[in-house]
Amino acid sequence: MTKGEFTDAVRIQQEDFSQDEEIRALQASSKQMGGIATFIGCARDFSEGRKVTQISFDAYGSMALAEMNKLRDEAIVKFALQDARIVHRVGVVGAGEQIVFIAAGAEHRAPALQACNWLIDELKQRVPIWKKEITPQGDSWVTPHP
């Protein structure tokens, strides 16, 4: 696969993503990366003692994508990254499935790990996406954790 065939570095999509493809795309952007840190958020099949069968995501799509692009740009500058990628799913995600992917590549491992941690924390604070847990007892919107 050539560099031009890779998907955008920041995406919101209904379909699942491939961690391997995302990392290949990240690596294709630079050969100066000595460390790549990744985070994958997944849908748990339980929450507060209840079984969760699916999670439904709603997003203010245009603003969410713009904020995610801003986060990537900020992380690249703040942590001197070679590149970073962020993918978030919307729609209905089954228990056990992947929700969000973040990858940060830097010359050394420390900034890559710090950037990855910073990106998921900031995403939760700044990106307008909401999740609803679907359980056998009914559906409920998730109250964010601090």
Binding site: A59, S62, M63, I99, L123, I129, W130, V142
Partner: protein, 79 residues
Amino acid sequence: MIKVLFFGPVAERVGASEVQVPFHAGMRLQDVRAQLQKLHPAAFEIVCFAAVNGKHALDMSLPLAEHSEVVFMSKFSGG
């Protein structure tokens, strides 16, 4: 008209994902909020953020223009 969008738990409490509010000269973000809060008090109990034309709006006295897109949002829970 001002297009007002709702998402997630706020949309559920409003019972709609979009409403139109008539625009008038000198209209500010707080005017739209006050008008809709009267109609949908339960929804606005959980509203924490607003955005105008896709950008976070921290100042509720922000002047609006005709055809502005306004969003009132609860705390985010993505990731």
